[in-house]
């Protein structure tokens, strides 16, 4: 387990570091790559609540938006450095998750009702910030122009820095995934996903562990919001986006519930394809990439419910078993 914890993040960081080289340090491609990594981070974080704990959470857009607003507004109003703001954003997102999640799990909301109420949270926050003119409102609020500054994490026109911030966050999230998966928490969560009543009967504090999973997930999604707003340069309530929730859940499910590698791999591939489709056909068929996501999701769930992760596992087992057989021979 410890070997994995060190190895997997190092390998992914190594691979991710090569990407800017391949892209020729082209700023536009780096921006796209950073966005893809941020969305992939969300998918990887979603795996903790959706994959391990089996709760179809559709509130990613809400936590992402909270991260955006906390980081952005602290910067705009009080000149708080995003170095702190990003983590405060994650913290507020996790607190919100606690405040909503505690009664939700206390009153035993599950499955469809959990999914619906988490999706409703995104719309509630969107409308709330739209009306609340002091912090949101209908006009964009721009981040202050401070020029190139490490202290304010502002690098005008150079997305390489944001790329590495996103890459680091993704790698850390994968490491957290591995850490959680092989800990007591991970086994508890898997037990809860398979059969909540049985898990409770065996003495697992179901509510507490689901809440832990939810808070880890929302904290990470809040962090992605903080990095996102630095790249974007402004805050607006429309950034509470229900599509982010749906995209995250779709990619998580297609990647395979509980599969640590499946989600991120499929997310990077599909998001890259989506970006290509958007550039190529976005002009006349605006939602083509979303249609692609929807079709892939339906096909995977109907015909291969284990997702890509299952297929990866089989492949991995074949490779390793093959090697072991060779060693014996």
């Amino acid at each position: 387990m410890d070997r994995r914890l060190v190895l997997a993040p190092l390998i992914s960081l190594g691979v991710l570091s090569l990407v800017p080289l391949l892209l020729g340090f082209n700023n536009y491609y780096l921006l796209l790559a950073s966005l893809i990594l941020l969305y992939t981070t969300m998918v990887s974080a979603w795996n903790i609540i959706g994959g391990f704990a089996g709760q179809v959470d559709l509130a990613a857009g809400a936590y992402h938006g909270i991260g955006i607003f906390v980081t952005g507004l602290l910067f705009i109003f009080y000149r708080v450095t995003p170095l702190v703001g990003i983590f405060l954003g994650g913290g507020v997102a996790a607190l919100l998750a606690l405040a909503i999640g505690y009664p939700t799990f206390r009153f035993g909301l599950r499955e469809v009702w959990y999914a619906l109420s988490s999706l409703a949270l995104v719309v509630i926050l969107y409308k709330l910030f739209l009306i609340w003119e002091n912090v949101g409102g209908t006009i964009e609020r721009y981040l202050p122009k401070v020029g190139f500054s490490w202290f304010y994490l502002t690098f005008p026109g150079n997305y390489l820095y944001y790329y590495f911030m996103s890459a680091l966050l993704l790698v850390a999230t994968i490491a957290i995934n591995i850490r959680v998966r092989y800990s007591k928490l991970g086994y508890y969560l898997l037990a809860i996903r398979e059969n909540e009543e049985a898990a409770e009967m065996l003495g697992i504090d179901v509510r507490r562990y689901k809440l832990y999973a939810l808070m880890i997930y929302s904290f990470i999604v809040g962090l992605t919001g903080g990095i996102f707003v630095l790249m974007l340069g402004y805050v607006h309530p429309v950034l509470f986006d229900s599509w982010i929730s749906i995209q995250t859940a779709i990619l998580g499910i297609v990647g395979g519930l509980g599969s640590i590698a499946g989600g991120p791999i499929i997310a990077v591939v599909l998001l890259a394809v989506a970006e290509y489709l958007r550039v190529k056909f976005g002009g006349y068929i605006p939602g083509l990439h979303q249609i692609l996501f929807a079709i892939i999701l339906m096909v995977i769930v109907l015909f291969k419910p284990g997702g890509i992760g299952e297929w990866l596992d089989t492949l991995w087992r074949r490779l390793t078993v093959g090697r072991r057989v060779e060693e014996v021979a």
Partner: protein, 284 residues
């Protein structure tokens, strides 16, 4: 002012109930979690718009054409998609119908683009004055159609053999199947009926509201809220909870901010799920 808004709420709420009854039928009888219901409503609104523009038909009359279309659409969706996930775990149902939601939304986006569309005119664009009260004719007609539909549906479910079989299916699938109910055909009929009624609601909503591709999400959550409050069992519960949400909607629009309507409705929805998960009017 208060009475005026209660009246508005009742008018609006009975239309919400009409939008939600299809979902309630499919959820209760077929036992299927349909996240895409709101997007069927959106599609119905677009179809009403299309018929209104191309055939110069008044939106209130469009269900004459769109109801059979949506009835067939419901059958087709059942045979192609729903049929495969009826026995699947909730997560698969949620995933597949979320896929359907995204598909419908982007279909609308590709065909009609993101700008809100509304019909050029309706013959119901006037209001009745009842003393100090103002009663818009479009919503009044909507309420009358809605109530007529509910009465017809209630009679259908309690008096006809097919309707009774449907309720039996909702109560206990296995026993109903053992008693000789043809589960597959009945499920198909329920989906067809449930989505057919959506066409009715779409035509009525189109008389006073514009539509855009995101409308689906709003109505999806709204109709699920109505179903959550109604609980399972009986059509009258759906009507009542639709009206409660309609009144909440009208009061928020009048006394707080018209843009805050969703906030009140969804917070009510979440509180309801916390404290009354069985709904206010449900048997189980």
């Amino acid at each position: 002012m208060i009475i005026q808004n209660i009246v508005f709420g009742i008018l609006l709420g009975s239309i919400y109930a009409l939008a939600a009854i299809g979902l309630s039928l499919i959820f209760g009888v077929v036992n299927l979690t349909n996240f895409a219901h709101g997007d069927f409503i959106m599609l119905a609104m677009y179809v009403a718009y299309l018929l209104g523009v191309s055939l110069k038909l008044d939106p209130i009359l469009t269900p004459i054409i769109s109801f059979p279309l949506f009835f067939l659409l419901g059958m087709a969706v059942y045979l192609v998609i729903f049929h495969k996930i009826i026995r699947a775990p909730p997560l698969s149902q949620i995933a597949v119908t979320v896929g359907l939601l995204v598909l419908l939304r982007n279909f609308a986006l590709a065909v009609w683009h993101a700008e809100p569309k509304s019909i050029p005119r309706t013959i119901l664009g006037y209001s009745y004055h009842l003393g100090p009260l103002l009663i818009p004719a479009d919503r009044l007609t909507g309420m009358l159609i809605s109530i007529a539909t509910f009465i017809a549906l209630h009679l259908f479910l309690t008096k006809t053999r097919i309707g009774i079989a449907m309720r039996a299916l909702a109560d206990d699938l296995d026993s109903a199947a053992l008693m000789g109910v043809n589960v597959r055909n009945l499920n198909m009929l329920t989906c067809a009926l449930g989505i057919g009624i959506v066409a009715l609601a779409g035509g009525i909503l189109m008389t006073f509201q514009p539509v855009n591709p995101m409308t689906g999400l709003i109505y999806g959550l709204l109709t699920w809220s109505v179903v959550a409050m109604a609980g399972l069992g009986g059509v009258s519960g759906v009507l009542l909870s639709g009206i409660i949400f309609g009144i909440a909607d009208a009061f928020t629009a009048a006394f707080w901010d018209p843009r805050a309507r969703e906030i009140t409705i969804y917070i009510l929805f979440i509180l309801l799920l916390w404290f009354r998960p069985k709904g206010l009017f449900g048997r189980r």
